[in-house]
């Protein structure tokens, strides 16, 4: 059995009187492609942001490799090896593809000297090249984000997270804005990443992608845990059917 990489334990998040996420728990093992699904307003993005460190949980813990990282900011989680992408593809619009990846490489080093170096190390340069190749963006390295199509933008966004060689990659709606044929290409890309040792946690509305790529899924609705299990078992779960279809 592989090691538990991420453990979410009774996580809750309230905004004033609104309880957006209520006592959600699940564990992600190293090598998993783990899905978190739920209807609109289920609290997926809030849960995701609490795991990523953008917001602090009101209660409950997030463990990464056995350590409690619940109160760590996003940048500290990145330095530990947790990468993330956003619902809408994020990049630095005034930079080319290659410069975006280089900007990502300059980010996480924390030593005093790292602030004042003017060049990337050989390893970092090699990593940028490797990500360009991995994402298929080598030919587009001098293009600006505005000149990329949706799939290329998604790959750039994921590529920026990959530059820092995360062990765990959190993907927020990776198929958002993609047409069916592009979703197929994205799926192959994500499976390739997973084969290279990156554990993936994804939130997505596109059931065809989630059901075909994830080996384990947690379903939440109205901020609460509903069920979890293998994709095929969830398809036959009456609670899940009720959440999605409104009837059993």
């Amino acid at each position: 059995m592989s090691e538990v990489l991420l453990k979410v334990d009774g996580l809750s998040k309230s905004f004033g009187g609104l309880r957006a996420v209520s006592e959600v728990s699940f564990s992600v093992r190293e090598g998993d492609i783990y899905g978190v699904i739920g209807p609109n307003g289920a609290g997926k993005s809030t849960l995701f942001n609490a795991i990523a460190g953008v917001i602090r949980p009101s209660a409950g813990q997030v463990y990464y490799r056995g350590s409690d990282v619940s109160t760590l900011n996003a940048f500290k989680k990145c330095r530990l090896g947790i990468g993330r992408t956003f619902q809408s593809s994020q990049s630095f619009s005034h930079h080319t593809v290659q410069e975006n990846l280089q900007a990502a490489a300059y980010g996480p080093a924390s030593s005093a000297m790292s602030w004042f170096r003017s060049q990337l190390t050989r390893d970092e340069t090699r990593q940028v090249e490797s990500v360009l190749e991995m994402t298929g963006l080598t030919e587009l390295r001098d293009r600006y984000p505005a000149d990329l199509n949706n799939l290329e933008l998604k790959k750039l966004s994921i590529g920026m997270a990959l530059v820092n060689q995360p062990k765990l990659l959190l993907l927020d709606e990776p198929s958002g804005g993609l047409i069916e044929s592009e979703v197929g290409l994205l799926k192959a890309f994500l499976q390739g990443l997973n084969r290279n040792g990156v554990t993936l946690v994804l939130i997505d509305h596109k059931m065809s992608l989630v059901m075909s790529i994830c080996n384990e899924i947690t379903v939440i609705a109205a901020g609460k845990y509903v069920a979890s299990g293998k994709p095929e078992s969830l398809l036959n779960n009456s609670l899940v059917r009720e959440v999605y279809l409104g009837h059993n």
Binding site: V54, F86, Q90, G107, S110, W115
Partner: protein
């Protein structure tokens, strides 16, 4: 950032200024321009690169000026030794202002920096150490100036040119380093910068401290240049002037900073005969630039130069 040829042209231009006119008046104008260039470089690190719209830098410039004036006049300290003291003081002020205000968003941050500027200004007006409203007179120029055949204006001009060159080199080095890249990443997309492992709080704090230090460095030279300072030197008007200069000249480029310094150091002198229209003209320039040249006058000039280059056969 800019091409190396700009450096060469700038160095040649500023080295030749004394040949265009040997008059003390013109040399003093050029010296004032260089003091502004240093101040605006400091402000540009915070405003242009880090996106921290501060109006406290006029007061931090005043901290450097007062440190030099008090230490050299009242305590007989050497000018060169007063500079690091001024820088350290401004850095401490910058650190304090940064710690207390950097979490504030948008206009709240601007207002908070204005409040700190007013605090420093009020202290300068009322503390015995600053000689209150009377200010400090007889601030003597540094001792190395005899080197230039007794011409004080020429000597001080060259001294400022060297000091400016040092600051420009430091500015380019800092802004081309990971520090500058991180600042621009935070300015352009803070959410993404955070997710990519950039420590936003530390980066902003360092930017504020570095920019405060450079502003104080300019202030030290300002004190010995004028030989007299009073609390007006800490007024937030200078902070606003620096902001306007960067907007009009162009942020994050040395060319833009020099254009801004030219407009605020030289143009008022050129408009001396039309003093009553000076602010109207400045206001009109600001409105036209904001509407027609969001990257500033220098940015527009670069765009035009690019177009001309493209049209050449």
């Amino acid at each position: 950032m800019e091409r190396k040829s700009l450096w060469v042209w700038l160095i040649v231009f500023f080295a030749l200024v004394p040949l265009f006119s040997g008059s003390d008046y013109h040399l003093q104008l050029a010296t004032q321009l260089l003091i502004f260039v240093i101040l605006f470089i400091g402000v540009d690190i915070a405003v242009g690169h880090a996106g921290l719209v501060s109006v406290a830098h006029g007061a931090l410039f005043g901290v450097g000026a007062y440190a030099t004036a008090i230490l050299t006049v009242d305590h007989g300290l050497n000018f060169w030794l007063s500079i690091p003291v001024g820088i350290a003081l401004a850095a401490i002020f910058g650190l304090l202002i940064g710690i207390l205000t950097l979490k504030l968003a948008g206009h709240y941050f601007v207002i908070a920096t204005m409040a700190f500027a007013l605090l420093i200004h009020t202290a300068a007006k009322n503390l015995p150490i600053t000689h209150g409203e009377l200010g400090i007179t007889n601030i003597s120029k540094p001792g190395v100036l005899g080197l230039f055949s007794g011409n004080q204006a020429l000597s001080f001009y060259f001294l400022m040119a060297i000091a400016t060159l040092v600051v420009v080199v430091v500015y380019f080095w800092l802004m081309r380093s990971a520090f500058g890249r991180r600042l621009r990443a935070i300015r352009d997309n803070p959410l993404l910068a955070d997710a990519l492992g950039i420590d936003i709080s530390t980066a902003k704090l360092l930017a504020f401290v570095a920019s405060a230090s450079i502003a104080a460095f300019a202030g030290s030279f300002h004190a010995v240049f004028l030989t007299y300072i009073n609390p007006a030197v800490t007024g937030y008007e200078l902070g606003f002037t620096a902001l306007m200069a960067l907007i009009i000249g162009g942020r994050t480029t040395l060319g833009g900073i020099i254009v801004g310094a030219f407009i605020f150091a030289i143009l008022p002198e050129m408009l001396r005969d039309a003093e009553q229209y000076r602010l109207v003209i400045m206001g009109a320039i600001l409105i036209v630039v904001v509407q027609r040249a969001p990257a500033g006058i220098y940015g527009k000039l670069v765009d035009w130069a690019g177009l001309i280059r493209k049209r050449r056969p």
